[in-house]
Amino acid sequence: MSELTLTLIKLGFLALLWMFVLAVLSVIRSDLFGAKIDSRTAASLAPNNSRTPKAAKPVKKRKGLPGSVTIADGPQAGVGATLVEEPVIIGRGSDCQIRLDDDYSSTRHSRLFLSEGQWWVEDLGSTNGTYLDGQRVTRPVPAEIGGSIRIGRTTLNIAK
């Protein structure tokens, strides 16, 4: 077989091999440049975004156990969790009960938990710290109704 044919076969095979790699890359490019959100998903997201932050107005401190914790401002306003018995973990990780879309929060940032008949806020070794009513949380501190937690750029309100 001639030298030229051999070279052509060689280059042809390499081209075929790369074609496979490029085909795979084009299949997964949504991972690299973000997926298009179809109308159905967009519709389900819309109500969340347009909701006005009702919790923004200050609530007086009151006796009793807190019942919920809710994001107060920004695009995620209104997202939150009810405080029943289980601890609530707040952070960027997808396993958190309240998942923040905030670049200044850590994956598992802080935790609310029930102990001795009281809810407590605890920092989980986050990079930027957790603040309860402007005070940095260094050890578990009691969480009371009307308190506000700041995590990164997000403020969360504790309500009844």
Binding site: I9, K10, L14, F20, V27
Partner: protein
Amino acid sequence: MSIASTSVIQIIPRTRRGVELWLLIVAIAVAVGAYVNIGLTVQDKIPASTGYYAAGIGLLALIAHFALRYRAPYADPVMLPCAVILNGLGVAMIHRIDLGLAAVAEANGRTPKAPAAPQQITWTAVGVVLFLVVILVIRDHRRLQALTYTAGLAGLVLLVLPLIPGLGVNLNGARIWIRLAGMSFQPGEFAKVCLVIFFAGYLVVKRDVLTLAGHRFLGLDLPRARDLGPILIAWAVSLGVLVFESDLGSSLLFFGLFLFLLYVSTERAGWLIIGGLLFAGGAYFAYQTFGHVHRRIQDWLDPFSIDGGQVASGLMGQAWGGVLGRGLGQGRPELTLYGQSDMIISSFAEELGLTGVIAIILIYTLIIERGLRTALGCRDIFGKLVATGLAMSFALQVFVIVGGVTGLIPLTGLATPFMALGGTSLVANWAIIALLLRISDQARRPQTPAAPVSDETIAMAVQKQ
């Protein structure tokens, strides 16, 4: 906690099985193309067995594809084609070196050894059967969490199996093989899967303790002394593998896997530093004490000091290959010792050049990326950790063996996943791909509105601390 269910990464649910079928066709075309190419250049004709080869690999790939279609429709569309193309290319290269070795034997007037390629095809079939078994039997990967300690025990037993006198055999200086019914197996390959399940199950329960307890020192979160137990055990076991089985590669793999999962589950860099120091200490001790480790390092620092050394001849082959390679069938990869197994990447570098090897490494990277993506999308912590561990096991193996062959790090005997000659490794890798696909099916499947199970799993994991 109904609000929590909105907090899962947005993935548009599409099965994408059609895309997978197209990619599979391209993958099979590449593998058959390699086979025909080798026939044309070595024997000057299209080999008569092309039909069987194409039908065999095509049939196996299609069986796997249809199993996914019916049992894991939302599984990742990219992993199976990537595995098929690597396996196909590996078989083609093994066949090509068979032809080369036969020619050498003929020139020296010896009878050639039995070809290794048919054996590898048989093992591929066994691998695909195991793939089917995993996909059909394990319907939900979370079930595996119940087997955490069973898997840990099985992993340990598999690890020490080669040490049992009469069962284990010493091959090429490493005691990692067992001989049963006239065939040899490498139980460590399956130990890998068992240990990943064990590590993941263990860390799901313990990660909160490992993350939260501890004190700060020099800007690092250091764990408490009593939490160091597991990492010390993992370290001792991997050193034991190194000492008693003389196997650098698997020792590195097991310890690396544990360390990675520990880091991923706790997010604390302190573990990596402690682990790195422990590993460095162990490696230095091994270098001082064991002849074979010493030799490997020597061979790495100065590959050309030994006449006809394995690393040296591999490097010569790679250099001869250059950017575009000699072309399939036109190099002399048979001259390198273990050109079909440990050094198969150097055989590819010789015949496909840098261009081809980069493509192969990219295909590995794609499998690893898809594995990590599965971990990100997965809704339960156990699944996340298993997917991360399995993907990292590929990453570590490829890094260790390609790094060794190219002279970046000392060469250690780890199998190149899917490509290298060796039945156990191939079969175990097919099982790993099946597990990853099973988890990715769960991760990509559209979430049912209430998502009761995933929330419960999270709550359970939180309560367990």
